[in-house]
């Protein structure tokens, strides 16, 4: 793969096969169609973001990729293989980790137990080492590793949720609104961490309502509106796009 060293502004190569391809995805909750036609791809080594207003269908898209929901139509290819018929636990095993909206830690378990659950499928002996790496990255977690996860602040919980998702050593890390409820300083720290992970070789699919922050960090982005992908471009192109500025960056 030649894309792994892509600079943030580099155009997406059409020659290399994307790590993740989502084509014509449609998902319904009972009779309510939540997404109708989501099409996008994620190149290896990049941060790709999906932005869009509340209810656009971003969370539904991620939950379908990770196997918690089943598509009504369309397909999802990971490394060229269809995964939308696989159970969620098998998709994690293939290298797709999902850090869900609202963090969803196991609040009555300790920091350490949450991280061990992130490494549940692993049997190699690098788990302890990776756990130390998470503690290095987020010292506040290392200092209180035997504390219950539910006792931490929002920002600390988000760190733990990202750390937990990293523990499976994913090739694709999906983050659903990691900045939700965080202070601007904490948001900045989380985004620094995400870029750091990308530089270390993890591909990131980022979902955000905070479009400005997300696009500034992203190699590529897609706009999701009413269950469809409507615009795409590099992070900088989208930031400069008047339609994006009008709709999502609070300008009139």
């Amino acid at each position: 793969m030649s894309e792994t060293t892509a600079a943030p502004q580099a155009p997406v190569s059409t020659q290399t096969r994307p790590l993740l391809e989502v084509r014509g995805l449609s998902v319904a909750y009972g009779a309510i169609e939540a997404i109708r036609d989501i099409t996008f791809s994620v190149q290896a080594g990049q941060i790709v973001s999906l932005i869009g207003s509340n209810g656009a269908g971003k969370t539904t898209t991620l939950r379908t990729i990770s196997g918690l929901l089943r598509p009504k139509a369309g397909e999802i290819l990971f490394e060229g293989r269809p995964i939308h018929t696989q159970p969620a636990h098998a998709i994690l095993g293939m290298g797709v980790a999902h850090c869900p909206e609202g963090r969803r830690l196991f609040p009555r378990m300790t920091v350490e137990e949450n991280l061990l659950l992130g490494a549940y499928t692993r049997s190699d002996d690098g788990v302890a080492e990776d756990m130390e790496r998470v503690y290095e990255l987020f010292p506040v977690l290392g200092e209180r590793r035997q504390n219950k996860a539910g006792l931490f602040s929002g920002g600390e919980q988000q760190m733990l949720a990202i750390g937990r998702a990293m523990m499976s050593r994913p090739r694709l890390l999906m983050l659903d609104e990691p900045s939700m409820g965080l202070s601007p300083i904490m948001t900045q720290r989380i985004f620094d961490t995400i870029r750091n992970l990308r530089d270390l070789g993890t591909t990131v699919l980022l979902v955000e309502q905070n479009a400005l922050a997300a696009l500034a960090q992203s190699d590529y982005g897609y706009v999701v509106d009413l269950g469809r992908t409507t615009l795409e471009g590099s992070g900088h192109e989208l930031l400069a796009d008047q339609r994006v500025r009008d709709a999502y960056l609070g300008e009139s």
């Binding site: 918690l68 969620a88 636990h89 994690l92 196991f106 378990m109 659950l117």
Partner: protein
């Protein structure tokens, strides 16, 4: 005074029995929010399984050596209970995994009656009570005027040991962690790579092994079994699990001992005697639930998005 102490001893022994059954109720509920009303029948088939091993598999010489006969019967009973529980999960409950809650509940009642009647028809002589050998016939222990039957003491010791082992397994092992995670948040557990079917099968399996061993020890203690012992003792065990806080392992064990003590004390000291012990137990249960709906050790259900 002597009578009271004797009833306390009997209550602790009965509590030990009920704990082995209550653990299965509470664990299955914790994972899939199903009150498995057929869990008592898992206990009952375990007792008959142990009896079958004694009757048809053990040579006459081995029947007399308790440290050969009893382990063989416990293993046999546990295997029968395990097979019954896994078939029950696979054939009756798994197809209803996404059905409204009432469907598996009613199915559980059906499975319960089915297993009672199946045992009655299939097991030779089970139309009435079948004698169960007292394979552990060591001399009873006397402390002052109190008599502790050796088979009862054994039941209490095995129950406490198994409860501690189970608690340690659930708190410390990788699969135990997966079970707790699935109980707290099934969807997020799947995102960790946990296969819910494996956790559910493991949970039914552990509950069945405990109930099967309990069934064999019950037979050894009471010296006869019939197809309805699962229903009678299952009701006490269900009450114990709810009293302790359904879903809680520690709660089920403590609830079981509370119920064992109340039953044995009510049998002697409260109006109605043995005929009314259910009444007193369910009055206590209702009283506790009025003031503490989550039971003694249960978690208050958290509001989740």
């Amino acid at each position: 005074m002597a009578t009271l102490l004797q009833q306390i001893v009997n209550g602790l022994i009965f509590g030990g029995l009920i704990a082995m059954v209550a653990l299965g109720y509470t664990m299955v509920y914790g994972i899939i929010q199903l009150i498995n009303f057929a869990h008592g029948e898992i206990f009952m088939t375990g007792a008959f399984g142990g009896l079958a091993v004694y009757t048809w598999l053990l040579p006459a010489e081995a029947q007399k050596i308790w440290y050969v006969a009893l382990p063989a019967m416990m293993v046999g009973g546990a295997i029968v209970s395990l097979v019954v529980a896994l078939l029950m999960e696979r054939l009756a409950y798994r197809p209803l995994r996404n059905a409204p809650r009432l469907a598996p509940l009613i199915t559980a009642l059906g499975v319960s009656v089915f297993l009672q009647e199946l045992t009655r028809i299939v097991y030779p002589g089970a139309n009435s009570a079948v004698p169960f050998p007292n394979v552990f016939s060591a001399a009873p222990v006397h402390i002052g005027s109190i008599t502790i039957p050796s088979s009862g003491l054994l039941m209490l010791v095995v129950s406490v040991v198994l409860s501690v082992v189970l608690q340690t397994y659930v708190n410390r092992s990788r699969m135990g962690r997966a079970m707790r995670a699935t109980a707290q948040d099934p969807d997020t557990s799947r995102l960790m790579g946990i296969n819910p079917d494996r956790v559910i099968v493991l949970t039914f399996g552990i509950g069945a092994v405990l109930a099967g061993i309990g069934g064999v020890l019950y037979g050894t203690y009471i010296n006869n079994v019939d197809p309805y012992i699962g229903f009678q003792n299952g009701l006490f065990a269900f009450a114990a699990a709810v009293l302790g806080g359904i879903g809680s392992i520690r709660g089920a064990v403590i609830g079981a001992f509370v119920i064992g003590l109340i039953k044995n004390i009510a049998d002697i000291y409260l109006p109605g005697g043995t005929a009314y012990d259910y009444v007193w137990i369910f009055i206590l249960l209702i009283a506790v639930l009025v003031f503490r709906p989550q039971g003694l050790f249960g978690e208050v259900e958290r509001v989740r998005a």
